[in-house]
């Protein structure tokens, strides 16, 4: 065997050939739309976001307080029992610094999605959100944060009624001190 790759019969194509229309292609843009029923648990959750509050559900059997709320406990496989309000403060469980946006643009200032363990919910129970008003270099696991809400008239009953979570001044704890999930 020589080191040369075997040549294959065919027509070489480059991007320029495609642009010149040398190859037939078919384009199609689907216009599919949905409107999902939020149901009992998430419906109430969104309603309370509009009120500027976070609400959770408690399972009496495993004693967990679950946020976002759900009407069933996936561990005990039974209906959850009661609504409880939880705080809009919490601890960063994990985060990422995203230097590429969802539409694949390079970002100078990173977006910072994070899972925030909410005060009043069970350990390991958090909500997915983004961090803001923070120097990316100073974000740490275990950092204490608080929700920054939209002004009430601008809230729509959406997870984006919270603009972002921002550090609570002077409350940054050391790496690795976040409570371990059970």
């Amino acid at each position: 065997m020589s080191g040369e790759p075997r040549t294959v019969r065919g027509t070489p194509l480059e991007l320029a050939d495609l642009k010149k229309g040398k190859v037939f292609t078919t384009a199609y843009v689907p216009k599919i739309q949905y409107a999902w029923d939020t149901g009992v648990a998430i419906g109430r959750y969104l309603e309370e976001l509009k009120n500027g509050r976070l609400i959770a559900r408690r399972c009496q059997r495993c004693q967990r307080t679950m946020v976002p709320p759900r009407m069933f406990c996936e561990r005990c496989f039974r209906s959850t029992d009661e609504w409880v309000y939880v705080q809009d403060t919490g601890t960063v469980n994990t985060f990422s610094l995203c230097y590429v946006s969802w539409d694949v643009r390079r970002l100078k200032t990173p977006e910072i999605p994070a899972v925030i363990e909410i005060d009043g919910a069970s350990p390991g129970m958090g909500i997915m959100h983004v961090l803001g008003k923070v120097n990316p270099k100073q974000v740490r696991v275990g950092m204490r944060v608080r929700a920054v809400w939209k002004p009430p008239p601008q809230r729509t009953g959406s997870i984006t009624d919270i603009l972002y979570f921002a550090p609570i001044k002077g409350k940054t704890t050391k790496v690795g001190t976040a409570k371990k999930p059970r």
Partner: protein, 384 residues
């Protein structure tokens, strides 16, 4: 069928045009609780789970990621089939017969009311290069099929109208039905054409709903507290679906699936050996085409004569879609086949209330995946 398998529990919500009060997860949890209670089991005992769902219907990719919590399937074997629920039954039967597990749950649901552009999803199923650019509504495929089906078999539009009339009237006795209505064949003939020769009233309307079925091995079923219904045979098949060259007249996918199920069940004369049929009637003529493919008639034209003379009514010789079918109950997307199964289980357990047939012991459910597909499945059940 070696290594017998039984259905030991069913949970199903009434099919309804909309279900705004529950999320799909809450709907599934509710029916899972009902099915496990019916089966006399705890969720923790279930060893494997199958859900049947189509990502495009859900509006969620990789839908199996969204199903374990509400079924009690966390940290357990589970997968999603992009198929009608009857394929899920076949899947569960194979898992149990292989000796892998003894207790399997099959789930399918519909949140059709959440899809704002159902025609676009159908369009997405049509070949993107040489069919989609033509721009016709994909339901036209049913019009094309019905036209040549009637032409070749001699079945008449009036006979097809009897299917709608029968099924929607049957649905009046079914509290689970979304679209019951006392309907006469004349009412159908008066309704406008949608896709000639197909009329509007001959097309099943979509509904929301959820069905959960628990299947068990022979040992497990006989040791349990619930009344088992035995799976005697399962079959599934696809034909070549190319619109330009498909078989428009015979539903070959249904014939092949039925032969597969009949072989396992030892059925030689389906018209005599099977006492009750729940078959796909997404479009009224489909019920007749499927009954022909199931081998009920020596001449295809007999299917039309049978429905017109009442043979397939609940009090007739061969009851078909006593539940109301999809025309009466609503088309519940991937759950459609499981609603057919739920009816058979109720009938074979003698729990069908006002619809109860006195002598049904062996029954058949059949599904079709809708236009533009040639995909179908058959399940044969018996009370003994």
């Amino acid at each position: 069928m070696p290594n017998r398998v039984a259905i030991i529990g069913v949970g199903c919500t009434p099919a309804q045009p909309t279900t705004p009060y529950l999320s799909f997860k809450e709907l599934m949890f509710q029916e899972a609780e009902r099915a496990y209670l019916d089966a006399g089991i705890e969720a923790s005992e279930v060893e494997s789970f199958v859900t049947c769902a189509e990502d495009l219907n859900e509006g969620l990719s990789i839908f199996d990621e969204y199903t374990p919590d509400q079924l009690g399937a966390v940290q357990k074997p589970m997968h999603t089939l992009t198929q009608d629920g009857l394929h899920g039954i076949a899947d569960a039967v194979m898992q149990i017969q292989s000796g892998l597990v003894e207790l399997v749950v099959v789930e399918a649901h519909s949140k059709a009311s959440n899809i704002l552009t159902p025609e676009w999803i159908l369009d997405y199923a049509v070949d993107p290069v040489w069919n989609r650019p033509l721009g016709f509504n994909p339901h036209a495929i049913a019009g094309l099929e019905m036209n040549v089906f009637l032409h070749e078999t001699g079945i008449t539009p009036d006979q097809c109208a009897h299917v709608t009339a029968k099924n929607r009237t049957n649905a009046l006795r079914n509290p689970l039905a979304a679209y019951p209505a006392r309907t006469a064949p004349g009412d159908v003939a008066d309704s406008p054409y949608a896709f000639y020769p197909l009329r509007e009233t001959e097309m099943a309307r979509t509904a929301d709903g959820c069905v959960v079925v628990v299947l068990a091995s022979d040992d497990r079923a006989r040791a349990g507290k619930s009344q088992p219904v035995w799976v005697r045979g399962v079959g599934f098949a696809n034909d070549s679906s190319t619109l330009e060259s498909r078989d428009w007249i015979r539903a070959e996918y249904c014939r092949v699936a039925a032969q597969m199920a009949y072989r396992q069940a030892g059925i030689h004369n389906p018209g005599r050996d099977i006492h009750l049929f729940e078959v796909d009637d997404t479009y009224a003529y489909k019920e007749l085409q499927h009954l022909v493919a199931l081998g009920l008639y020596s001449r295809p034209g007999d299917a039309g004569r049978a429905v017109a003379s009442g043979v397939t009514k609940p009090n007739g010789e061969t009851p078909v879609n006593v539940s109301g079918g999809a025309l009466g109950m609503g088309l519940t997307l991937e759950a459609t086949g499981l609603y057919r199964v739920a009816e058979l289980v109720a009938q074979l357990r003698k729990q069908a209330g006002a619809r109860q047939l006195p002598h049904a012991k062996v029954a058949l459910a059949q599904s079709w995946r809708g236009v533009p597909t040639t995909s179908g499945a058959v399940v044969v059940l018996s009370s003994e």
